[in-house]
Every structure is written in structure tokens, then in C-alpha cells.
Symmetry: C2
Subunit: 309 residues, 2 copies
């Protein structure tokens, strides 16, 4: 091994990190704009929505929209709406999942959860209003950008990722599974819905915003999204067991404390790590139809499985 | 007065009642279809969604979609999606409003509320999934029917009626108002958002499905929807004071028990009745651009203010 490739790797990794940071800043401004409409009389609700959405979070889902969209040639401004929409849906699900009747969590992203900082009723309304806002943002009039047909398709994708076949359905399975032992396939199905569906949806929204609405490229991206979505959740479960709380910004062991069946608790840490890498590999393999345009998505897939936070 | 006009009135009223009953049956079948997609692993969630949506309810909002759409020449099948969508949003709001952290109600439409029949976490997810389903239904692919542009406009209207500027915002104001005395204008603003926005949205969706997306007709319908929406809520408040529980199918006095400021509690029953009729009159006046096609909507406006349940 010589020094040159290592330097090149580091340079490449730094460039990728800068690119991701750029997307994060960009979607922050888009979210800020979407949440700044004045609504007299609902100040507390608006404030709680801003508290929940702004200033924290990895913004993985918007990053997937931007990376996929740019890989397929979409100009960045066309990706802003879909990027904000997937994050609004993600945050609504966090706010509702944290509620006392659900996971009953007090901390999120290092701060009190929405129902702790405000109250339960407000947190329920924050989630409800964020979901509505996500669809409003996707349906917004835009003189340029994807056709109305493509935007309707984006709304169908987002609604499917959000409802019973996706996130809400996955959370229902998750709640029903507390204290039970599930077979590996059932854990996978739960994760694919609860986390995977919206991650896959983010990839698909990026593709649709770039005008790619079918063919081998979309099929490949669909598979890619499903597999990195599941890999992401498995890595999340692994970090909950062996992660460093200081790096994660949250305490570990929450899944065990909640008696939630997870990937590592079901098949062991070793098999979980192996499965995450397997999924990364099939995800990357599915990008073949994109040729060299897949480079950034490959980097992201590696990042998802190797991340420490 | 001779007997003839009375008979004609009765015949006309019966025909209108049959028409309304027909819409109710029709949307029931559409909702049944929308809720019958099999979702392995989320049986309990799907069951709770069906429990909350099917078999009960006045279906006022779907009726408004059908009446408005038919008045403007839309074929019934084109109105099924919007009619189901507004009812799904309405039911989601009922399920969430009934939660312990909100109005803490045990009965709804004569049956245990969703969180009573199931549990709180399921009720939260039912509302979340119904909202997603509403947008999915509106965005559904349909070879015939309104253009993609018009369907995006419908999604914008529904999202606005649902979020902070509509229902969720109104509920936030409502919660903040418990135990307080509000001026009449503030009560009106709260009602216009909490109930009025979705009723107005139902009228607009009917118009958009008929291809009417601007001009004097749409402006008139916008005003009509806003005013009958508010009139409907005032009549609801009146019935909560002086209605017959046997006819209503629910106990009265709930607003007073919850210390909620209402129209009658703020301005008195007489002024409330007067305001409901005033609003009916301005609503009917706003239908002028529709000419004779406004007949059924005029009947509905009268029905809303005269109803005993």
C-alpha cells in the first residue's frame, strides 16, 4: 500500500463530508422557510413545530433526496421541496413515537422531547400539522420543475411510505412486538416499514424530481433504497447496544430498556453486523444501471454502515 | 296558503333527503374500498381504522363534495376520491381530538372512542394513517377525471384545511381557550379554522373535481363554504346546549363540562341563532354566480341551520 491512495481516499471522504454538510445547511433553510408562515393565534403550535424540526438531526432523508436527484441530473432547487417533505414526515413520526402512549421518551437529539418541552396535546398537533405541511410542500405550485404528473407520483410515494404500508404500519408492529421474541424475518419486515419505507421513499422522490419515473434506473434505486433503509436501522440497533453515548448524543440501551426486539437482540451482534454489510453490498449492486453516476450513493451506503453516530 | 305548495315542499324535501342518503351510501362503499387493502402484520391498526371510519357519521363533508361537484356537472365517479379524502381527514381529527390529552372523550357516534375500544397508541396511529390515506386517495392514478394540475390543487386545498391554517391550528386555539372567555371574533376565528376550513375545503374539492378552478363561481363557493362551515359549528354549539340527546345520539352539555368557550356561551343562545341564520343567508347569497345550479346547495344550507341532530 502506498501513501497516494490513502491521501486520495481522505480527500474524497472530506469532499463527500463537505457535500453532505452543504445539503444539511440547504434543507435547514428550506425547512425554516416552510415553517415561517405566520399563523396568528397558533403561536404555541408554530413554535413547537419549529422547536421539533429546526436545528438538529442528521437530515439523512433530505440528503438522500439531494444525492439521488443530483446523480440523475436534477437542479438543486427542484429537490428542495421533496427534501423538506421527507424530513417533515420523519420529524412528525419522531414527535408521535416519543409520546407517553408510545415509546415515552424524554430526550430527543439531546433536548427534551416535544411533549416534554410543551405538552402532550401540542405534541399530537405538531405531528398532525407537520404531516399536512409535508404534503402541502410537495404539492406547492412551481413554475419550473417536475410535471404535475410526476409530483402526483411523489405524493403517492410519500403517502405510501407514511401510512399503514410504511411508517405507521411499522410502528404498530413495533408496539405489538414489545416484550416478545420475533423471528428475524418479522424484525426485518418491521424495520423495512418503520424506517426503510421513508428512506426508500426519499431515494424515489429524488429520482422522480429528476424526471426518472420508471425503467431499470428506478427499479435499481428502489432496491437500493429498501436495502440501505434496512441497513440503516440495523446499524441503529447495533449502536444502541455498543455505541458511545458521547458520540451518539443520546443514551444507549434504550431498546433493551423498552424490551423491544431488535436485530442484535434477535440474531446477535455478529450476525447483525454481517447482515448490515450484506445489505450495503446488495444496495450498491442494485445501482449498476446508474453506472458512474452512482458514486456518491455508494459513498453514502458505506457511510450508513460504518457510522458511529 | 294552499295545500299545493306545502305538498310540493314535502316532496322536494323527501327527494333531497333521498339524494343525501344516496351520497352517504356511496361514500360508505368508497371508504370501505379504501380501507380494505390487506396489510399483513398490522391487522389491529387496520381494524381500528375501519372501526373509526365505517358505519357511522353524518358524512356531511362527502355530501358537500358530491352536491357541489354534481351542481357543476362532474360525473359521480370523479367525486368519489375527494369525498372519501375529506371524510378520512375528518375522522382522523375526531380520533385525535378524543384522546385523553385532548378532549378526553369516551363516546363518539354512540360507540366507545377509538382509544377506548383499542388503546391510546393505536388511536394516535389510526389518525396518522388516516391522514396519509386521505392524501393517497386524492393522488390516486385515475385515467379519466380531473387533470393532474387540478388534483395537485385539490391536495393543496386539503393540506391547507388540515394543517396550522385550518383544523390543527383551530384545535390548538381551542385547547388554549379552555376555561377562558374569548371575544366573539376570536370564537369565530377558532371555529372557522377548526371546523369551517374542512367544510369549505369539501366545497372547493367538489368544484375542482368538476374542473372549476377560478372565476366568480369558485369565489362564490369559497364564501359559501366558509359561511356554512361556521354556521354548522354554531348550530353544533347550540345543539350541545338545547338539543335532545335521544335525537343527537350523544349527551349534551359537553362544551360546558369541558369549560370550552362556545358561540352560545359567549354571546347567548338568541344571538347565536341569529348569527347562524345570518351566515346561512350570506352563504346562499354567495351562490348567485351559479344561478339555478345552486338549488341543492341552498337546501343543504337550510338543512345545516335547521337540523336537530
Amino acid at each position: 500500500m502506498t501513501a497516494t491512495p490513502v491521501t486520495a481516499d481522505v480527500t474524497e471522504a472530506n469532499a463527500f463530508a463537505r457535500r453532505i454538510a452543504g445539503y444539511k445547511d440547504r434543507v435547514e433553510r428550506v425547512l425554516e422557510r416552510a415553517l415561517s408562515l405566520p399563523d396568528p393565534g397558533t403561536d404555541r403550535l408554530g413554535e413547537a413545530m419549529r422547536y421539533s424540526v429546526l436545528g438538529a438531526g442528521k437530515r439523512l432523508r433530505p440528503t438522500l433526496v439531494y444525492l439521488t436527484g443530483e446523480a440523475l441530473g436534477a437542479p438543486l432547487p427542484q429537490l428542495d421541496g421533496p427534501a423538506a417533505a421527507v424530513e417533515l414526515i420523519h420529524v412528525y413520526s419522531l414527535v408521535h413515537d416519543d409520546l407517553p402512549a408510545m415509546d415515552d421518551d424524554d430526550l430527543r437529539r439531546g433536548r427534551p422531547t416535544c411533549h416534554r418541552a410543551y405538552d402532550e396535546a401540542t405534541a399530537i398537533l405538531v405531528g398532525d400539522a407537520l404531516q399536512a405541511l409535508a404534503f402541502a410542500v410537495l404539492a406547492e405550485e412551481s413554475p419550473s420543475g417536475p410535471s404535475a404528473q410526476l409530483r402526483l407520483e411523489m405524493i403517492r410515494v410519500l403517502a405510501a411510505a407514511t401510512g399503514t404500508s410504511g411508517m405507521a404500519g411499522g410502528q404498530a408492529v413495533d408496539l405489538a412486538a414489545v416484550g416478545r421474541k420475533l423471528p428475524e424475518t418479522a424484525i426485518e419486515d418491521m424495520h423495512r416499514r418503520k424506517t426503510g419505507a421513508l428512506i426508500q421513499g426519499s431515494v424515489l422522490l429524488g429520482a422522480l424530481a429528476a424526471g426518472v419515473s420508471g425503467g431499470a434506473e428506478l427499479a435499481g434505486l428502489e432496491r437500493f433504497g429498501a436495502d440501505i433503509g434496512l441497513a440503516f436501522q440495523i446499524q441503529d440497533d447495533i449502536l444502541d447496544v455498543e455505541g458511545d453515548p458521547a458520540v451518539l448524543g443520546k443514551s444507549t440501551g434504550a431498546d433493551a430498556a423498552h424490551a423491544k426486539p431488535t436485530y442484535p437482540s434477535t440474531v446477535g451482534l455478529e450476525r447483525a453486523r454481517l447482515r448490515a454489510r450484506e445489505l450495503r453490498d446488495t444496495a450498491i449492486g442494485a445501482l449498476a444501471p446508474l453506472g458512474h453516476r452512482s458514486a456518491a450513493l455508494v459513498q453514502l451506503a458505506n457511510f450508513i454502515v460504518n457510522r458511529a453516530s
